[in-house]
Point group: C2
Chain length 510, copies 2
Amino acid sequence: MTITGQNLIAGEWSGNTQGGFKAFNAQTHRAIDIEFADATELEVNTAIARANDAFTSYSQLSATKRAAFLRAIGAEILALGDELVETACGETGLPAMRIQGERGRTIGQLGLFADLLESGEYQGVIEQANNDRQPLPKPDTRLGYLPLGVVGVFAASNFPLAFSTAGGDTASALAAGCPVVMKAHAAHPATAELVARAILKAIESCDLDRGVFSLIQGKNYAIATQIVTHPAVKAVGFTGSERVGMILQAQIHQRAEPIPFYGELGSINPQFIMPEKLARDGAEIAQGLVASLMMGQGQFCTSPGVWVVVGSEDSADYQTFISSASEALAQQAAGVMLTPAMCAGYNKAVEERKTLNCVSLLATGQMGNEQECSATLFVTDLATFATTPLLQEEVFGFSALVVRCADLTEMMQLVSLLKGNLTASIHGLENDLSASKTLSLSLAHKVGRLIYNQMPTGVEVCTSMNHGGPFPASTNIRTTSVGSEAITRFRRPICYQNMPTELLPSLLKS
Amino acid sequence: MTITGQNLIAGEWSGNTQGGFKAFNAQTHRAIDIEFADATELEVNTAIARANDAFTSYSQLSATKRAAFLRAIGAEILALGDELVETACGETGLPAMRIQGERGRTIGQLGLFADLLESGEYQGVIEQANNDRQPLPKPDTRLGYLPLGVVGVFAASNFPLAFSTAGGDTASALAAGCPVVMKAHAAHPATAELVARAILKAIESCDLDRGVFSLIQGKNYAIATQIVTHPAVKAVGFTGSERVGMILQAQIHQRAEPIPFYGELGSINPQFIMPEKLARDGAEIAQGLVASLMMGQGQFCTSPGVWVVVGSEDSADYQTFISSASEALAQQAAGVMLTPAMCAGYNKAVEERKTLNCVSLLATGQMGNEQECSATLFVTDLATFATTPLLQEEVFGFSALVVRCADLTEMMQLVSLLKGNLTASIHGLENDLSASKTLSLSLAHKVGRLIYNQMPTGVEVCTSMNHGGPFPASTNIRTTSVGSEAITRFRRPICYQNMPTELLPSLLKS
């Protein structure tokens, strides 16, 4: 297919691409020769207005038909075939196998929401009237849910399918009955266009209002402002950096009507290696952490950025762990980041870290060509971690920091210093159980997902998942962006009192 | 009991009351001769710090013990006996029977949350491991919930028990496992002190950390700012005016860490009288609306402020409704408002309404003494309602506005103009069903509770209740402040992955 470089505005391809922005080939750092049109103010307004119009019919569409729509999107994404994989690989530098896996996950997410819709979209609560109750009769009250309205979604760079055009935010908003205005990520605009075409085909085959989905291309920040401050937009989903997320949050705060902002921002995903584990499996756990860190060049939201170990600097257990981790990391191949800007950002963060007092570079991965970055491993102690705020910031990429604690008390102090995180893991053996219990009770309040003896990378898409957590992991601690509970972000409760059956939603009729 | 006029800071009565603020007797508008101490910055900080300390033990308290605590609070409130009723009546001007009923509701709310805790605090989701799954094994994942931390609660003026010191926000926060720092309402500080004593007795009899509850007295706005911007405060509940709510919201937006703000602000609770209903039961429905409006002198959150009818100005049906409503209202006795300031505010709003073009005063209730206010009924047409933003503002008190629509099309236009509301009612007969269905589908998106053929006043405290809705009814459309679902405001999801049984919360063990 020929990429048009245009915006998809309620079913119409629109925009002047001449002189527009270009994506970069992540391997070569050269611009890909397709021009993309920054959406105009009029195009964005039209997309939102058409989405708002479509809300009337789409919010009333039966759950079964919404499920069929989600499955149709999945089928159309698969039908894009190798072109989608090749395009995404070129724009992101991620290997084909990873993109294929991510495609499966993306289709799986759509299917999970379709399953949910087909098995009963929500669990309503029906409490019938009791006219005999004293001192006052009890009216018939029934609790159901309504979709919020138009949802603005901002694609992430690091998962060009699963957290992008038809990713988790889009899938859960559409599942809830909300039209989506999607701001594509400028790092993979062609991938976004292909997926938008798949969604448009599904809209057509399901005979839906074309306003249900629009794709907004652009590098102009004013577009984002326009989306999040538009009165018809009733919720916003975002996955990206804390810096950009906080700009959007501040703009949303200026609105007359408050709306929920679901921003997934950053996380250092601390890993706690307990004393017995360190003593018995120090080398093994070090290698496991390095392998987890290397996934997607460390560009996973759940990449293990901080490794906490207990021990004196000269203890054999500690030294074994450090030397094993350093050796493993030193062998890792260099790799390209998602964009040239992220490559530069990673290198800058690493250089900055090298200059910090009492932070030592333990190892660097293999050098590559000038477009590639190398993994890095640093070490520090608790006192330095406690007094160096920069060490709590996420380095986006495959850099990890070992924090050595003198004892379990120091480890607990480190927990109290932590900001919010998506995940944390405790790595322990039987003899670590008592200390792990104490640790877990505190650590639970700092994370969205608490893991035992497994690596944080890899997020299961299921009903019991929580991908969120205290700020800055998420701007809304009470919600998840992955798993079927993500649908609850885009709907809200409503009580129907004393309503005749004909006026009740089908799930609340009996 | 002698009222101390002091703050309750983690179990200690504290503060210099000399020269402090006084409450007013609502009947006489004379100051009641008890001085109350504005909490100092140190006292507020101590309360929050002690609450934060108490969070560790209180968040780990078993659900059964939290339930016993809530029931103990209820029992201690009842044990305050007539003194509580007399004190609340004096400070609010509400009659004894109303306060007794509200006390029952308050204790009932505490009991509802206790029932919930005893019957299984939440429905966890357990998805076990599947090591055979391809291409990757499925880890064991379990979804549970954790309390957020210290909750700041701001008492409402209009329900001195049910939305105040031990009201719905406090009950749901304590039920969730969150310590509460309560800002008492300056209109009923002695009532607040009595209830705080009951809570302290329950804390002592249940042997809990005294930091679990503090009562902050004061008229100084800086106290509110200090509470909502304190880093240890993790959620805020508020019921009150849109003006004050928006000030708190703006202060919360300045925080480094975003936290949920549950503000219930204002609502005009539109009532739709359908054509057949108007024709057959015009007089009856008019009288019913007047009776609902008069409840608590119209100082209910759900007071019916706007009555929408369809008909030409000279139709007999419309005239019957108008004359019946006017006659009924003219007979209503005058009454005191909750405070002298609210009395003045009501009178000012009524005078302002009288000056509006194309808005006519239909009737005024009986005149009383100079401390009393009189009910009022106005009428206008859709065109005026559409172009006069002031008519969408809540008048706090027993003033209603009839909006005449020429036909059902105009009625639907009115719906599209509405801001968010706590409730709306549709009053209809069999022949109105088709039009009511069309109306309900639009109207549902403007309200938290949609009612058929019942008055909006009276909020059932049950599992299927939703007391909230689109802004400005609530600052958080996804939550309710009444009913057992209110507990969800103060907890958040957490996923436990691959955790040993010993490290799982009891509800997720099997």
